[in-house]
């Protein structure tokens, strides 16, 4: 039977002490983002800038919730949340550290060996290590548990063969956390998977080939493993527990404010664009999206609060991502409905037009990456007890 309480988004007020942190981050960003054009900012978590990431690291704003013992800052998940939402809303280029800070770091902190944590986490907290996610394969997208790339035990480690695809930043990342098959798993495709921490810069037999996306840029890759030899200690966590670990990793991936903030810059530019000639109908449409932004912010904050209190927010996170990506995907169309300006490529047209042009093209990916809309609806349906 449906339990409505399980659908509640518990109200979460941020402690007022966090407002100091927020002010600090805003002041920093106001300064640090001056050199970046509007269209570059509209890439938010696709924006890639190692130097910017190191600056954030130097401030203590990366690896914030990771253990101090290994170079993290042991601050609360909520403090991290404030930094993350501020950087995203401002359109900071967070792509270099994004995956490491969001999911690889926490996964290593939870499942890694002492040695792995010692080796990796300081670099994450300093903004010096870039990670990528090796989950999807050519024949395994939504049906992730069907991955076929294998790691076989050899004399002093593992030998990996197979192909990963859509791997964001693989061509320039230092490490990949890969989900690989370690034995046949018998009947169950969920068993027999394991996670590996792969040093991309120092392992032979790995080639990353950038794949141009529809904007013409290449940020994701096909990664081919050909008898790539990994040391024994590349295994992350427990052999055979890869599915459980990857699910935990996806929970980190799905629960953040990035799931509704990709187009925020477009909304704020649109507000300025209509300022001088806004009819009541135009105001109403803008206002409805402002209401959505406020709603999603409250929902996202509730998810952060649940995480902070150790409550599993899987269902709530899926709902935020489902609603958030619809919100993001509506905005480019709305902009064109309200303002008679064409979208343009970077470098021509006004800032507004370039942002619109960029986000119009990126929008389809919002309901694909990190689990498709359909897969999320399935998760929600399971939460309702009908699956």
């Amino acid at each position: 039977m449906l339990n409505l309480d399980s659908l509640r988004f518990p109200r979460h007020a941020l402690p007022s002490a966090l407002e100091d942190l927020r002010r600090e981050v805003r002041a920093f960003l106001a300064d640090a983002l001056v050199p970046y054009s509007a269209v570059v900012r509209s890439n938010t978590w696709d924006g890639f800038d190692p130097e910017f990431s190191r600056k954030l690291g130097a401030r203590g704003w990366l690896g914030m919730a990771l253990p101090k013992q290994y170079g993290g800052h042991e601050r609360s998940a909520l403090e991290r949340y404030v930094v993350v939402e501020e950087t995203l809303a401002a359109g900071a280029p967070v792509g270099f550290h994004w995956i490491a800070d969001r999911q690889s770091g926490p996964v290593i902190a939870r499942y890694g060996t002492d040695e792995q944590k010692r080796r990796i986490i300081p670099g994450i907290a300093n903004g010096e290590i870039c990670f990528c996610i090796g989950m999807s394969e050519p024949n395994s997208g939504s049906d992730l548990a069907s991955v076929r790339s294998r790691a076989e035990r050899v004399a002093d480690g593992w030998c990996v063969n197979g192909t990963k695809i859509w791997t964001t930043n693989a061509h320039r990342a230092d490490y990949m956390i890969a989900l690989l098959r370690t034995d046949s798993g018998g009947e169950s495709k969920h068993r027999g998977l394991s996670q590996f921490l792969i040093d991309l810069k120092h392992t032979k037999g790995i080639t990353a080939r950038p794949i141009r996306d529809l904007t013409g840029r290449g940020h994701f890759n096909e990664v081919v493993f050909q008898d790539a030899l990994l040391p024994a200690d590349a295994l992350l966590g427990t052999e055979g527990e890869g599915w459980k670990q990857a699910t935990a990793e996806l929970a980190f991936e799905r629960s953040g404010p990035e799931r509704y903030l990709s187009c925020f810059l477009l909304l704020s530019r649109l507000v300025d664009e209509v300022r001088d000639h806004a009819s009541p109908a135009t105001l109403a449409k803008i206002g409805a999206e402002v209401a959505w932004a406020a709603t999603l912010r409250n929902m996202s904050l509730a998810v952060a609060g649940m995480l902070n209190e150790g409550i599993d927010p899987g269902l709530q996170a899926a709902i935020v991502k489902d609603l958030g990506c619809q919100f993001e995907q509506r905005l480019p169309g709305l902009a064109q409905e309200l303002v008679a300006l064409e979208p343009t490529l970077a470098g021509s047209g006004s800032d507004y037009q370039q942002v619109l042009g960029n986000l119009t093209q990126l929008a389809p990916s919002f309901s694909l990456r990190g689990g498709t809309l359909e897969i999320l609806r399935g998760i929600i349906a399971r939460g309702l007890g009908v699956r």
Partner: protein
């Protein structure tokens, strides 16, 4: 939920879930105001949640009252509990004496004549015919309260057959006239606040019925809920419900935390966002709930319509999403794009 909210939640659930069913709602639409249920609600203090302890109330905040108002929506309670709760709160806040019984809210500010009386028509006053007093504001921002001695009622109702009466005042002399530290259209703002919570409640009711029905009915040899198309409908319904619930609750909380400051960002932002989101959601909530129910949901015999007809009515009452969207759109433009984020994070 805190302890008080848990207690309130338990007691409203116990009170309404057992009594406000299809038979009761059907009968009430014919017979009108249920004095029995009203006195039970009154005994449990539901109308007095926001009143101080000296005044015989619970001295609770709006965030606590949310639980009660939402429940009134979820069970389609055919009583002016939210309206009376607000009326009593306004009276006490202005230092006016409390009144007994049902309070009719005057949705728009009124102009008093030079002799201090009011003559004029108030359209669509909720439960006007059942009111023992009317509470509103004057166009110079004072709280005003009338008894029923100088009124005439023309009965009307909303789509859910809840009374929405036109009330004619003839040289009515206020029982109370007091300064009020709220915007002069306070009833409109708080009315919108109340309706957003009722919509959240009715949305939860629609979701419950939809999940239950599709988990019981079979077609093509399977339960409807086993079809992916139906599962996705239900997921969308759940998201819509949760979004309204979250922002409506945020608005009630904002009234406690921020109130109505003069000038600057205050609870009005969340209230406008809540009613805008809630009213906008009604289209999807009602469309999908009816869709997954098939023809049975379209009958008077099945309970869904008690919720959906309320949703269609509450969507418009105290301003629909167009009107509140306009308010928010104007706020956004006044702030400017660069300040929009700060406005959302407050």
């Amino acid at each position: 939920m805190n302890e008080l909210q848990q207690i309130l939640d338990d007691s409203v659930t116990r009170l309404f879930a057992a009594r406000v069913d299809r038979e009761f709602l059907t009968a009430t639409e014919e017979a009108g105001f249920s004095a029995d249920l009203w006195s039970l609600a009154r005994e449990q203090g539901l109308t007095h949640v926001l009143v101080s302890e000296q005044g015989g109330g619970m001295n609770a905040g709006w965030a606590d009252a949310y639980v009660v108002v939402r429940a009134c929506g979820r069970y389609a309670v055919p009583l002016p509990i939210p309206e009376t709760m607000l009326g009593l709160w306004l009276l006490e806040r202005a230092g006016a004496p409390p009144v007994d019984g049902v309070i009719g809210l005057l949705p728009v500010p009124i102009a008093l004549a030079v002799d201090g009386t009011f003559s004029g028509d108030m359209p669509r006053v909720p439960w006007g015919r059942d009111a023992t007093a009317f509470v509103g504001t004057t166009d110079d921002g004072r709280l005003v309260c009338f008894d029923t001695s100088a009124i005439a009622i023309r009965e009307d109702s909303n789509l859910a057959r809840e009374p929405r009466d036109d009330v004619r005042f003839e040289r009515a002399r206020p029982l109370a006239l007091q300064p009020l530290d709220l915007p002069l259209d306070a009833v409109h703002w708080f009315g919108a606040l109340l309706r957003s919570a009722q919509i959240a409640g009715a949305a939860a009711g629609c979701l419950e019925l939809s999940v239950r029905y599709t988990s019981e009915r079979e077609q093509f040899g399977r339960l409807l809920s086993q079809f992916q198309a139906i599962q996705h409908h239900l997921a969308e319904l759940a998201g819509g419900m949760a979004s309204v619930d979250t922002i409506a609750h945020a608005a009630f909380t904002a009234v406690d935390d921020d109130g109505f400051r003069t000038g600057g960002r205050d609870a009005r932002f969340e209230i406008a966002a809540a009613k805008c989101r809630a009213s906008e959601a009604v289209e999807m909530l009602t469309r999908i709930s009816h869709q997954v129910h098939g023809a049975i949901g379209f009958t008077y015999e099945y309970a869904l319509q008690f919720l959906t007809r309320r949703l269609w009515s509450w969507r418009a009452e105290f301003g629909a999403h167009g009107q509140w969207g306009e308010v928010l759109g104007r706020t956004a433009i006044e702030q400017g794009g660069d300040r929009l984020w700060a406005c959302i994070t407050n």
